[in-house]
């Protein structure tokens, strides 16, 4: 038994202790990148989701009390899930979700009104995980020069932010490429406009281990921003639009639901990267990144930060500090 999730919902805890978990229906949805299985339940209650020791199946059980299955289970056959079945007797029933070898990580969460347990199982080949490359392979570093095209960013006597960011990204790339095990990718290498989502897609498709978005601001001093670790999932829960359609609406909306949650899995890594960069840029061993709800970072599936370098700072030194910070982070074995 390997992992994982144990969820307690206080509002229904006492009722759950008496009743266990009652599954009144199961739906599933197959997508290019993942398979979603939705368990419709009578009332939210604690449950346990584990992976079998051979990693070939996931097992859903009630945490406290019996698991009751009130309807027949659907026949699931796609490239991630082999099938779904009930096992055990009435007193200790379990739901077994058999996986194909190509199945990747599983993420589960609960939605209310109506109450559902949602299980997303990624297709490992379609969604590169955040794991570091194996020995002999390259670490992919994605540098994202901010703004571009019609969007110049801020404009001061020192120039346009979009040009300064591009110039700085190219300088950092040159410095990093001296290391053979680092592959550096720019989201843009010329003056073009990119949406925030296009930048995140670019990083995710490249299999980034590190993502650094480069911006600048008036004056001196540099700041490093990271996604507020509590923010990504909290914002999803707060969003009434996304709360009710999951598992019941169109595929595109469900894809959107997964989009924007990627950074939630990288809070600690992004904190480490942000701290390292912040200390290099500010030459201060106690400097910390600023935690903020960053529109771009939320969808990046890697350690990700946004740096904002003062336009009056020495750009060569800034580029060197960023390159050194990235190398330090990567070499620290994270």
């Amino acid at each position: 038994m390997i992992f994982i999730f144990f969820l307690v919902l206080p509002s229904s805890l006492s009722a759950a202790a008496e009743k266990g978990l009652s599954v009144k229906g199961v739906r599933y949805f197959s997508y290019a990148a993942f398979t979603r299985v939705v368990f419709e339940i009578d009332a939210a209650a604690p449950y346990v989701l584990t992976k079998t020791s051979d990693s070939q199946a996931l097992v859903l059980t009630a945490y406290d009390g019996p698991l009751t299955i009130k309807s027949s289970l659907p026949e699931i056959r796609d490239s991630v899930v082999k099938g779904i079945e009930a096992r055990g007797d009435a007193a200790s029933q379990q739901i077994l979700i058999r996986l194909h070898p190509g199945a990747g990580d599983a993420k589960d969460f609960v939605l209310r009104a109506p109450d559902r347990i949602v299980l997303d199982i990624t297709r490992s080949s379609a969604v590169p995980g955040p794991a570091l490359p194996l020995a002999g392979k390259q670490f992919v570093i994605v540098l994202d020069p901010g703004h571009g095209g019609k969007d110049p960013g801020i404009v001061t006597g020192q120039g346009q932010e979009k040009s300064i960011a591009l110039e700085m990204a190219q300088s950092i790339k040159k410095l990093l490429q001296k290391s053979r095990d680092l592959k550096v990718v720019l989201t843009r290498d010329r003056d073009i406009a990119l949406t925030l989502d296009e930048r995140a897609v670019s990083a995710n498709q490249a299999g980034a281990v590190v993502f650094v978005s480069i911006h600048s601001a008036e004056g001196t001093g540099s700041r490093v921003f990271m996604q507020d670790p509590d923010d990504t999932l909290a914002s999803q829960e707060q969003n009434p639009v996304s709360r009710d359609f999951l598992g019941f609406e169109t595929g595109s909306e469900q894809q959107e639901r997964l989009w924007g949650r990627q950074q939630a899995a990288h809070g600690r890594e992004s904190g480490d990267l942000g701290r390292t960069l912040s200390r290099q840029l500010n030459r201060n061993d106690s400097a910390e990144p600023v935690q903020a709800p960053m529109a771009l970072l939320t969808s990046v599936d890697a350690a990700a930060v946004l740096i904002e370098a003062g336009m009056e700072e020495n750009r060569t030194r800034t580029a060197e500090a960023v390159a050194k910070g990235i190398e330090l982070y990567v070499r620290s074995g994270r």
Partner: protein, 195 residues
């Protein structure tokens, strides 16, 4: 003829003097009673739980404001025109932030307030627009501080506001100037405030 004219002038002067005296006395008495009943500060309400006062509509309302200053939000007070109900009052407070007051510049250049709406659950919707066609231009830190200047100021002054959401040109938007995620609700954040 001339005697009659002189008497008439003398009579008018006396009447005028009496009227002036009465007006002055009435004015003094008015000021006296006004100070007793509504002395300076009596109608000024600041801080949490501000109910929009209905008395003395001409007197400015003092509110707590959080304004960006050297990379952090600085708490202070400002005066805004008193309004009869909460939504109009919040609009007035927001206008003060976005147009700047006295020595304080606007919290975000190139931005103006299109509208404000407070729903029954306490979610405040702040609808912003760019002044120019090129959109808003701000660094990430400026954008972050502007967002929380609005959130902190609204939630400090209006206890009815439980959370704040931002719209751009009447619609949900990804960000104001390309950095801060606006697809979420915001609550007060005090770690950005100078202690």
């Amino acid at each position: 003829m001339s005697d009659r004219v002189d008497r008439r002038i003398a009579g008018n002067g006396f009447t005028m003097a009496v009227i002036v005296m009465v007006v002055i006395l009435a004015g003094i008495a008015g000021v006296f009673f006004w100070r007793q009943g509504n002395g300076p500060g009596a109608g000024t309400v600041t801080g949490p739980g501000m109910a929009v006062p209905l008395q003395r509509p001409d007197e400015p309302l003092t509110v707590t404001q959080y304004l960006p200053e050297n990379g952090i939000l600085a708490p202070g007070t400002g005066s805004v025109k008193r309004q009869p109900e909460i939504q109009a009052q919040a609009r007035e407070v927001l206008a003060g932030l976005f147009t700047g007051q006295q020595a304080a510049p606007p919290i975000l250049k190139d931005a103006l307030v299109r509208g404000f709406f407070l729903d029954p659950e306490g979610t405040a919707y702040v609808d912003l627009a760019a002044v120019s066609e090129g959109g808003m231009r701000a660094s990430a830190m400026e954008e972050l501080l502007a967002v929380y200047a609005v959130v902190n100021t609204l939630m400090e002054n209006f206890e009815e506001i439980k959370q704040v959401r931002f719209l751009l040109d009447g619609r949900e938007a990804q960000a104001l100037a390309g950095h801060i995620d606006l697809s979420r609700s915001f609550a007060r954040r005090l770690d950005l405030v100078r202690q």
